[in-house]
């Protein structure tokens, strides 16, 4: 298929900059998710790749071909819209056949291709119906069939699952991934749902306010968020984030809320020594901490009072108030402390994340950039 490359792409709508100087590569045959809150510019990037929007600055390449000035119909893309955008006055068959008809494909070939793609997506029994007579999941498949029937080099999906109910979403999620791998098509998938992005994508691109926050495989996005935004956007519930002061005696030590101290020994230590920030932003994931009765070993511990307990069956979400900070901890179902109880929150070793208070960048990444730079 083809690799899609954005070089220094900026898109402005009037005075609003929707996408700001984005450099991004969508790997050949890869499934890339563009993840961000609404208004982050993720859909704009998709429509820039589609050619529906023209970049204000920068170039877009499909492989070696510069497509920046090409119309959508000259780009060989398939696009699935959030609202499916099926033609309501055409049958399912005509909807799927439409792109081929516009290309003046011979009728016999159209028939064969439509039937083939319809069988592939299990909608061949619906071909005579109108979109209004289909369920959401079926409409979604018709939209996908219309995008796939012209054998596109790039498949673009704009929140295709957001109008489906939760059960169907999980079912189609895995199906969509299978289809993409089977066809080997380069896929770009826009979503605001992190679980979709993490579950389906080979690579996740987190976007906020038109700027790329992090571009990495799902594992890395989850375990090593590049900045505070990514850490607080990913995860359910997202990571606990709070400021803390530092002091440097024998080791760089963090003064945690509730009056405890934690001295850093891992790879953060060298950065902290070099930068000597007086404050840091601390983060950890709710699932990387536990509630303990006594502080033990060398784990970072925060003292607090239980604020609320939300039992979810498989687990509990316990909110602990320490000073004026609320921390969430996921506990096994049997650990269900009373509200008001004094507890210790112990964070797993190596799972504490530290961010620069000014740039909000994960200090780990600053350390890596230094070691790469010499």
């Amino acid at each position: 298929m083809v690799e899609v490359r954005l070089e220094g792409v900026t898109k402005r709508f009037g005075r609003v900059t929707a996408v700001n100087n984005v450099n991004l590569t969508f790997g050949d045959g890869e499934f890339t998710a563009l993840l961000g809150p609404s208004g982050s510019g993720k859909s704009t990037i998709l429509y820039l790749v589609a050619g529906i929007y023209k970049p204000s600055k920068g170039r877009i390449y499909f492989g070696d071909r510069d497509v920046t000035d090409l119309m959508p119909n000259e780009r060989n893309i398939g696009l699935v819209f959030q609202n499916y955008a099926l033609y309501p006055h055409m049958t399912v068959y005509d909807n799927i056949a439409f792109p081929l008809k516009l290309r003046k494909t011979p009728p016999e070939v159209i028939r064969d291709k439509v039937l083939e793609v319809a069988k592939f997506l299990h909608i061949h029994e619906l071909l005579d119906r109108y979109p209004a007579q289909l369920s959401g999941g079926q409409q979604q498949r018709v939209a996908l069939a219309r995008a796939l029937v012209k054998e596109p080099e790039v498949l673009l999906l704009d929140e295709p699952l957001s109008n489906l109910d939760a059960l169907l979403r999980i079912k189609i999620r895995s199906e969509l991934k299978r289809i993409q791998k089977e066809l080997g098509v380069t896929a770009i998938y826009v979503t605001h749902d992190q679980s979709e992005a993490l579950a389906m994508a080979d690579k996740v691109v987190v976007i906020n306010r038109g700027v790329i926050q992090q571009e990495a495989p799902p594992d890395t996005i989850y375990n090593e968020p590049r900045n505070v935004f990514v850490a607080s956007f990913i995860g359910s519930p997202p990571a606990n984030i709070f400021p803390a002061t530092m002091d440097y005696t024998e080791e760089p030590c963090i003064n945690l809320p509730g009056g405890t101290r934690h001295c850093v020994e891992d790879e953060y230590a060298s950065v902290l020594w070099r930068m000597k920030p007086s404050k840091v932003i601390v983060g950890f994931r709710p699932e990387h901490a536990e509630i303990v009765e006594n502080p033990v070993d060398g784990r970072p511990v925060i003292v607090g009072e239980v604020y609320t307990v939300e039992p979810l069956g498989r687990e509990n979400i316990v909110t602990v108030a320490s000073e004026d900070i609320h921390l969430k901890v996921i506990t096994p179902p049997e650990v269900r402390p009373e509200a008001g109880e004094l507890v210790y929150v112990a964070v797993e070793k190596g799972k504490l994340m530290l961010f620069d208070p000014q740039t909000e960048v994960n200090l780990r990444y600053i350390a890596r950039e230094w070691s790469q730079g010499g």
Binding site: G51, P99, L102, P131, V142
Partner: protein
């Protein structure tokens, strides 16, 4: 489609339904009475002005009317009129106005809805202002244009010119409102539908034709009805700009009821003319009504 309002839908069930039906009947009673008077009279030997009038059924009125013979009882010598020609004239004016209004308003409403150009919102507001002027108030100015242009038209083509002028002048009165109505319909068609067509390999024009226009059909039908009726019913523009012998049904009926003729006119024949005058309106409305209520949905969410 069978469910919903009417056809025994939830609206007309129960006591509330009976109340609603009674209220509707009461409200439309004056209209029903006038129309039934008109239609009954056209088939009667006298004016059916109340339920107690005794009358005899006859087709005589229609025969006289279609032969162009008015005022047969007063013993006045009359010249037969070419009714068929009036019918054709009416159809030309009404059809012409419809076509001109549709061509102008569909294209401009699409532009107002979908394109960004200089003074777009200003022009939309100007359209409302234009609509606020009654056609009668403009007639002096329109007449001046008529005379000015007429001086360039060879005498042989004068009749054609008059027809074209009437059609365009009458249509331009309808266009502002038509654009407003249609813009509302275009605004409701999601951008994605057009984008889908363009991504699928179509041009902007293909998108308009295949994806957008089918969805604004109800709007087009509404505008077509208004335009057709405007042309069909028009009195003043036809009266002023068409040569005196080129009448439409409206001006013909008017001429029969006008001052000085009413005493000599046999009203049952005029009733036949009035009934005929109604028929196309009714047919047109019945045909387009289905379109008016037709809403295409589904396949679009969000």
């Amino acid at each position: 489609m069978g469910e919903g309002i009417g056809e025994g839908g939830p609206l007309v069930r129960g006591t509330m339904g009976i109340v609603i039906i009674l209220a509707l009947l009461l409200a439309s009673l004056p209209i029903i009475m006038t129309y039934s008077t008109l239609i009954l009279t056209s088939f009667a030997n006298t004016i059916v002005s109340s339920p107690w009038v005794k009358f005899r059924f006859t087709l005589e009125n229609w025969r006289l009317f279609l032969e162009g013979k008015l005022a047969p009882t007063a013993g006045v010598v009359y010249t037969p009129e070419d009714i068929l020609r009036f019918i054709v004239n009416t159809a030309i004016v009404a059809g012409g106005v419809t076509l001109v209004v549709l061509a102008a308003s569909v294209t401009s409403a699409y532009a107002f809805s979908r394109m960004n150009f200089f003074m777009r919102s200003g022009m939309m507001r100007l359209l409302i202002l234009l609509h606020a002027f009654p056609g009668v108030a403009l007639i002096v100015g329109v007449y001046a244009i008529y005379v000015f242009l007429n001086s360039y038209i060879p005498r042989d083509y004068s009749v054609y010119y008059s027809f074209i002028f009437v059609i365009i002048a009458r249509a331009s009165l309808e266009i502002p409102m038509a654009i407003w109505i249609l813009k509302g319909f275009f605004d409701r068609v999601p951008w994605e539908l057009e984008w889908a067509t363009i991504v699928d390999g179509g041009s902007r024009l293909t998108a308009l034709r295949t994806a957008v226009l089918p969805l604004v059909k109800p709007g087009i039908a509404a505008v077509a009805i208004f335009a057709f009726l405007a042309g069909w019913e028009d009195l003043i523009y036809v009266l002023v700009f068409l040569p005196p012998h080129e009448k439409t049904l409206a001006t013909y009926i008017e001429s029969q009821l006008g001052s000085g003729t009413l005493e000599t006119t046999y009203l049952p024949v005029v009733a036949a003319a009035g009934t005929l005058y109604l028929i196309p309106t009714i047919i047109f409305f019945v045909v387009t009504q289905r379109l008016l209520l037709e809403t295409m949905s589904g396949g679009l969410k969000g």
